[in-house]
C-alpha cells in the first residue's frame, strides 16, 4: 500500500538506483531558498565508508539531480568507487499536500509511510527522516541521527531539541511523560518528528515482518516507532540536535491539534496494552551530543485567556467531563476554576489522572472519540496556564527539573491507570 503512494517515475528511479545504505527523507517543503542536498552531502563526509545514500524530497517537481540519467548515474557510481565525494541520489515527489509543519500529524503519516517503504524497497541499513523546518536543521543533525545507526548499531535515534520553556508543550505535558510511564524508557521526543531508524526496526514498524503480518499490527508510524522499538528490545538512543524552530502555536485551532495527536496515541495505548501494563518505572537511554541549555527567552503566553477558557469549560462541559472523570477530579477542577490567576496551580497528580481518565474514556468510547478529545482542550489550557505561571519567573535549573517532576507523577499514578484499565466496571463515574 505504501509503495502505491509513490509516483511511477519515482519508483522507476529507485529501481534504477537499486540499493542504498542510507535513505534520508526530507519532509519540509522545498521553497527554493534552502536546498538540503548540499547539507546531506557534507554530513555524509563525516560518516565512515561513505554510505550509498538516497535522498527523498517532498517536492511537487522532480529535483534536478533526480531526473533519470542512466549515463550520469553510471559516471557517478564510477566516481563513487574512486573519488572522495559521494553523490547522494535524489528522488523527489509530493510526500504531503502542504508544509508538514502546518498540517496535522495524520496527514504526515502517509509521508512517513512512503519514506519507510522506499527505504525498505532499497534495502537500506538506516533511514533518517527530517520533518522540521528546513531552515532549522544543519548537516550536524543528519550526522547525529545517522551515526548511531551506521556505526554503533543502534536501531532508533530520537531527537533532543533546545527550545524555550513554552515550546513543545503537548510533548512536555502528555506525550513524553506518558510514553515514559507506559513503556519504561526516558525518551524526550518519542514522536520525533526527526528520527533515525535501522532497517530492522523499519520492518517492524512497516508491519512487513512475519509476526507483524500475522498479528495485523499496523499503526500510525510516529506513534508506533518508539513502542515498537521498546517492545522488540531494539537499541534506542537520543541525539542532541540543537535548536529547533517550532511552528507558531495556533491557539484557536488547538482542539484540532489535540484530537489529531492524542487520538493515535490513545489508540496506540490500546494496541500495546499487554506490554505497557507489565512495565514498572523507567530507564534512561544512551544520549549523544552536547545538550544546549534551555533558552532564557520566555516567549509570549496569554495566561489570562487560557484561564478564561478553562473556567468556561468548567462551567459548560461538566456533563461531558463527568462521563470520564471521577467526582474527585471534577471537584478539584471546580476548586481550581474559582482561584485567582496568582493562585492558579493545577497539581501534577490531578493533571495526570485527567490524562489517564481520558485515555480510558477513549478506549471505552464513553462518548464520540472526537468529542472526547476536543473536550479536553480547556483542561489542557488550564494546565498550560498553571505551568506558565509557575515557570514565568523561575530560574533555569527549576525549568529543567520541571518536566522530570511531571514524569515522576505519571509513573506514580500508573497503578491507577492499570487497575482502571483492567477492571473498568469497578469504577464508572
Amino acid at each position: 500500500m505504501e509503495l502505491d503512494s509513490i509516483p511511477e517515475y519515482a519508483r522507476e528511479r529507485m529501481e534504477q538506483i537499486g540499493a542504498a545504505d542510507l535513505v534520508v527523507g526530507i519532509l519540509g517543503v522545498q521553497n527554493g531558498q534552502v536546498d538540503p542536498v548540499p547539507m546531506i552531502r557534507e554530513a555524509l563526509q563525516t560518516l565512515p565508508g561513505v554510505p550509498r545514500t538516497v535522498v527523498i524530497q517532498n517536492n511537487g517537481a522532480p529535483h534536478p539531480a533526480s531526473a533519470p540519467h542512466p549515463a550520469s548515474d553510471e559516471a557517478q557510481a564510477a566516481d563513487h568507487d574512486g573519488a572522495a565525494e559521494p553523490p547522494p541520489f535524489v528522488v523527489s515527489w509530493r510526500l504531503s499536500a502542504s508544509d508538514p509543519l502546518t498540517v496535522p500529524v495524520q496527514s504526515t503519516s502517509e509521508a512517513y509511510d512512503s519514506i519507510f517503504a522506499a527505504a525498505e524497497k532499497l534495502g537500506a541499513r538506516a533511514c533518517c527522516v527530517l520533518a522540521s523546518n528546513l531552515e532549522s536543521f544543519t548537516s550536524r543533525w543528519i550526522s547525529q541521527l545517522t551515526q548511531p545507526l551506521l556505526e554503533m548499531d543502534f536501531d532508533l535515534v530520537t531527537p533532543c531539541y533546545a527550545h524555550h520553556r513554552f515550546e513543545g508543550l503537548i510533548n512536555s505535558s502528555i506525550i513524553c511523560p506518558l510514553s515514559r510511564a507506559l513503556y519504561g524508557k526516558r525518551i524526550e521526543n518519542p514522536m520525533g518528528p526527526d528520527l533515525g531508524l535501522s532497517g530492522r526496526l523499519l520492518q517492524k514498524v512497516l508491519g512487513t515482518s512475519p509476526l507483524a503480518k500475522a498479528t495485523g499490527n499496523r499503526m500510525h508510524p510516529l506513534v508506533s516507532v518508539a513502542p515498537s522499538a521498546i517492545d522488540g528490545s531494539f537499541r534506542i538512543c537520543e541525539s542532541h540536535l540543537g535548536t529547533r524552530l517550532y511552528p507558531a502555536t495556533d491557539w484557536t485551532n488547538l482542539s484540532n491539534l489535540l484530537a489529531q495527536i492524542l487520538g493515535p496515541v490513545f489508540l496506540g495505548m490500546e494496541r500495546n496494552a499487554v506490554s505497557w501494563q507489565k512495565t514498572r518505572g523507567s530507564q534512561p537511554v544512551a544520549v549523544f551530543g552536547e545538550p544546549a541549555p534551555i533558552s532564557a527567552e520566555v516567549g509570549a503566553v496569554d495566561v489570562h485567556r487560557m484561564i478564561e477558557s478553562f473556567q468556561l469549560g468548567t462551567r459548560n462541559l461538566q456533563d461531558i467531563w463527568s462521563l470520564v472523570l471521577p467526582p474527585a477530579s471534577l471537584l478539584g477542577l471546580r476548586k481550581l476554576a474559582v482561584l485567582s490567576p496568582a493562585q492558579f496551580r493545577m497539581p501534577d497528580e490531578l493533571w495526570v489522572r485527567i490524562v489517564y481518565d481520558f485515555a480510558l474514556g477513549h478506549r471505552q468510547r464513553a462518548i464520540s472519540r472526537d468529542h472526547l478529545l476536543r473536550a479536553m482542550t480547556p483542561l489542557y489550557l488550564g494546565w498550560v496556564a498553571s505551568y506558565a505561571l509557575e515557570l514565568e519567573t523561575a530560574e533555569g535549573s527549576t525549568v529543567e527539573q520541571r518536566p522530570e517532576r511531571l514524569a515522576l507523577a505519571y509513573e506514580a499514578a500508573k497503578p491507577y491507570l492499570v487497575s482502571r484499565w483492567r477492571w473498568p466496571d469497578r469504577f464508572n463515574p
Binding site: 484557536t252 488547538l254 482542539s255 485567556r305 478564561e308 477558557s309 468556561l312 469549560g313 459548560n316 462541559l317 461531558i320 471505552q364 468510547r365 464513553a366 462518548i367 464520540s368 468529542h371 476536543r374 473536550a375 482542550t377 480547556p378
Partner: protein, 176 residues
C-alpha cells in the same frame, strides 16, 4: 295499577338481568383474558429484563449516545423496554377479551390500528433519529463554542438542539 307497575318493574328487571346474563360470559372471558395476559406479561418481562441486563443494555445505549435514559423510569432503558413489552401483551389480552363481546368491533378496531401503524412507526423513527442527531450536533456545537471562548456556548448548543428537534417533529407530523 300497582300490579301493572310491579309487572313493568319485574319485566324491566328481567330484561336487565337477561342482558347482564348475556354479557356475563363476555365479562368473565375478558377478566380471564386480562389475567392470562398479565401472567404472560409478567413472565415475558422477567425474561426480557434479565436478557437486557445480561447484555449491559443500559451501558451500551449510553455509549452509543442514544437518549433513552432521559425518558426511562429510573433512568434505565432496559426497564422502559420491559414495561413496553408488558403493556403490549396486556393490550393484546384486552383486545382478545373484547372480542368476546363483539368480534366485529374488535376486528374493526384492530384493522384501523394496524392500518395506521406504519405511519406511527415511521414518525417514531424520524423522532428518534432526529433526537440522536440533535444531541450529537448540540454536543459538537457546545464543545466547539467553548473552545472558541464563546460565552454563550450553552445557549448556542441548546438552540441548535431544539432547532433540529422541531425539524424532526415537523417531519414526523407531516401527513404521508
Amino acid at each position: 295499577m300497582w300490579n301493572q307497575a310491579r309487572q313493568a318493574l319485574n319485566e324491566s328487571m328481567g330484561r336487565l338481568l337477561s342482558q347482564f346474563a348475556n354479557l356475563l360470559p363476555g365479562i368473565v372471558a375478558l377478566i380471564v383474558a386480562l389475567l392470562v395476559s398479565a401472567l404472560v406479561a409478567w413472565v415475558l418481562a422477567v425474561i426480557v429484563r434479565r436478557s437486557l441486563t445480561g447484555i449491559h443494555f443500559d451501558q451500551r445505549l449510553a455509549g452509543w449516545g442514544l437518549p433513552l435514559a432521559e425518558w426511562s423510569p429510573s433512568k434505565s432503558p432496559a426497564l422502559l423496554v420491559t414495561r413496553v413489552v408488558s403493556w403490549v401483551v396486556i393490550l393484546i389480552g384486552f383486545l382478545i377479551g373484547l372480542a368476546s363481546f363483539d368480534a366485529a368491533l374488535t376486528s374493526q378496531l384492530v384493522h384501523s390500528l394496524f392500518a395506521y401503524l406504519p405511519n406511527v412507526l415511521g414518525a417514531l423513527l424520524v423522532l428518534l433519529v432526529g433526537n440522536i442527531v440533535a444531541r450529537f450536533l448540540a454536543r459538537s456545537v457546545l464543545i466547539g463554542a467553548v473552545n472558541m471562548n464563546l460565552q454563550y456556548a450553552r445557549l448556542l448548543s441548546v438552540g441548535v438542539k431544539w432547532l433540529v428537534i422541531v425539524l424532526a417533529v415537523a417531519m414526523a407530523l407531516e401527513p404521508p
